[in-house]
């Protein structure tokens, strides 16, 4: 087996009493777009800064192509980075900002000129070469920052919430460009965000952070379809969480009962029989029927319905008075109205039982 491109091994970082990250381990393939996703304070930036060299881990190792990065000074790591805050040098023109990493590397003038031209074309800002950063919008500045970070062909590009300060439309525009740049350059990207939609849109794989640890690593689809914990399920996409009591564990499946005594089946990891748990079902994987069509159905009352154009959104109430969200195609929702009794159904492989 070949060694992975970037290996993060057993990272731990503490500030006095605060544990910022613990047991963070991850292998990243060359050319991969890997996103760190997680709530504020979950340790995404800390992990990224250790890779960049701004911070030293208390424990653990970071290897690039099998060689330790931690022994290398930050300015010798040859890594590109884009920050959340605008960090273009205010006294240099756009062109000179992009040229900066090449100048400190003492590259010949002709090479610098050609490279700056090429990088500005990559981010579609060729006409802005002689502008000062202060004369550009936030989105343009971040694109220049990307050009600067890629000018020296770093094998690895780190991005810490580079689009967080931009409005939604601009953010989507640059996300699109980022995908294109990733494909054109083939650079490996470590990207930090707390926006799950952004993570799904951009990434090959996503590492979900929670309280200083990685909860789960996988493609967007894997995380969405097979979340390994209640936290991941709640963080990616919308979910309904129903209280259950586990009765019996089979091979990867659990039999459980709802508070009203009704039995249900779902995917599950190891569970002790008799323990309390949660059954998670996505809103769009539930159906509301006027009458039961299968054994696994829950009697509910329709509380609210909203027409959203491409779909309908329902709020239904369970026998134990919990409100659940359901999304269905408009035509499937016909014949239902507020206050009517109905049956809520889903395929048992779409139910996940968590602790």
């Amino acid at each position: 087996m070949t060694t992975p491109f970037l290996q993060i091994r057993g990272l731990r970082k503490t500030y006095d009493q605060v544990v910022a990250i613990d047991h963070v381990a991850l292998d990243i393939k060359q050319g991969e777009f890997m996103t760190f996703l997680g709530p504020s304070g979950s340790g995404k930036s800390t992990t990224l800064y250790i890779v960049a060299g701004f911070q030293e881990p208390t424990e653990g190792q970071v290897l690039l192509n099998g060689k330790s990065l931690l022994d290398v000074a930050p300015n010798k790591r040859n890594i590109g980075m884009v920050f959340q805050r605008y960090t273009l040098f205010p006294h240099l023109t756009v062109g000179e900002n992009v040229a900066f990493p090449l100048r400190v590397r003492r590259r010949p003038e002709s090479e610098i000129k050609a490279k700056v031209e090429k990088m500005l074309e990559l981010v579609h800002l060729a006409d802005y070469r002689d502008r000062l950063p202060g004369q550009m919008s936030g989105g343009q500045q971040q694109r220049v920052a990307i050009a600067r970070a890629l000018a020296y062909d770093p094998p690895l590009l780190l991005m810490d919430e580079p689009l967080a300060a931009l409005d939604k439309k601009l953010r989507e525009e640059i996300q699109f460009e980022l995908r294109r740049i990733h494909q054109e350059t083939g650079v490996t990207i470590l990207y930090v965000t707390h926006d799950q939609e952004e993570a799904l849109r951009l990434s090959d794989r996503i590492a979900v952070f929670s309280q200083g640890r990685i909860e789960q690593v996988g493609t967007g689809e894997e995380l969405y379809e097979h979340p390994s914990s209640r936290f991941v399920a709640g963080f990616i996409g919308n979910s309904n969480f129903l209280p259950v009591k586990v009765e019996q564990m089979g091979a990867g499946r659990a039999r459980a009962i709802f508070p009203n005594g009704q039995a249900v089946e779902g995917d599950a990891r190891a569970f002790a029989a008799g323990s309390e748990g949660t059954l998670m079902v996505r809103p769009e994987q539930m159906r509301i029927r006027p009458h039961a069509t299968s054994a696994q159905g829950l009697a509910v009352t329709v509380r609210d319905m909203t027409y959203l154009g491409d779909s309908m959104h329902f709020a239904v109430q369970t026998p134990w008075e919990q409100e659940l969200a359901v999304r269905m195609a408009v035509r499937d929702g016909q014949g239902l109205c507020i206050g009517s009794s109905a049956v809520l159904e889903w395929d048992s492989q779409h139910g996940h039982v968590f602790a």
Binding site: A52, P74, T87, F89, H91, F100, P101, V104
Partner: protein, 266 residues
């Protein structure tokens, strides 16, 4: 605001009146001196019966005055350079590091601002007598530097404070060594603060008189000292012209400083 200028009504004119009186009070002596320096009366009659440039001619041909002018300029330039360089190093150290006793050190650096200059002058005089530094250029430079340095540290420190240190991180990861980061990113970003510090330092040295009187010798004195000592012997319009030159140069530097401030806000 309660005391908004636009809402003062009749009081407004009173305010304008008081402002005008204060301004005249501050400016009239200077205008008076400037007028006298061009007047042709030996006895400083006001208003001058006629106009002449002869006092300036005398000033610029008398070796004693010219020497004093040159000494002032020389001391001023050396103090400026040292004050900016040392101020920069001190401000960088205070802004970018955390160590025990930092705030005490910070306060210590600023003591010359609150200490009465006379006290400082007497202390330095006694000390420099022992070292044989009175009446030397070095004596002037050290004395003025002590007064100028706090202003440099404050001015440069303020511009470091408003400078985002993430820029240094960005430069570092771009491949710049710590020294290159300072040279190519930090210094250009705070250059206006450094210019301001330079101008203030020069001005402080340029019109410093208390310390200078203690440091001066008959052969080495600055312009303010010479004005003061000449004044004690006789009253000649040459003093008026020297004073006018002093003020004119100060005004030019102040204007430069305010332009810089405007530039940094854009």
């Amino acid at each position: 605001m309660l005391l908004d200028y636009d809402r003062l009504g009749g009081w407004r004119w009173g305010l304008v009146g008081v402002g005008t009186v204060v301004m005249l009070f501050l400016l009239l002596p200077i205008v008076f001196i400037a007028a006298l320096s061009f007047g042709d009366s030996q006895w400083l009659v006001f208003p001058p019966p006629g106009w002449t440039m002869q006092w300036y001619q005398q000033l610029l041909t008398d070796p004693v005055w010219v020497n004093a002018l040159l000494t002032s300029a020389k001391v001023g330039v050396i103090v400026t350079v040292l004050s900016v360089v040392l101020g920069l190093l001190a401000a960088l150290g205070l802004a970018r590091s955390r160590f025990f006793g930092k705030s005490a050190l910070q306060a210590f650096f600023l003591t010359p601002m609150v200490l009465p200059v006379v006290v400082l002058a007497v202390a330095l005089y006694a000390f420099f007598l022992k070292l044989g530094l009175t009446g030397t250029l070095t004596g002037f430079v050290i004395g003025h530097l002590i007064i100028a340095l706090p202003f440099s540290i404050i001015t440069i420190g303020n511009s470091l404070q408003s400078f985002d240190s993430a820029l240094e991180d960005a430069a570092m990861i771009c491949g710049a060594s710590p020294l290159e980061v300072k040279w190519r990113v930090t210094l250009p970003a705070i250059r206006l603060g450094m210019f301001a510090a330079a101008i203030f330092s020069f001005l402080i040295s340029w019109d410093e008189v208390v310390l200078s009187i203690f440091m001066a010798s008959p052969t080495l004195q600055t312009l303010p000292v010479l004005i003061w000592s000449t004044l004690r012997q006789d009253l000649t319009p040459v003093i008026a012209s020297a004073s006018t030159l002093l003020v004119a140069f100060t005004v030019v530097l102040m204007l430069l400083a305010s332009f810089l401030k405007k530039g940094s806000r854009q």
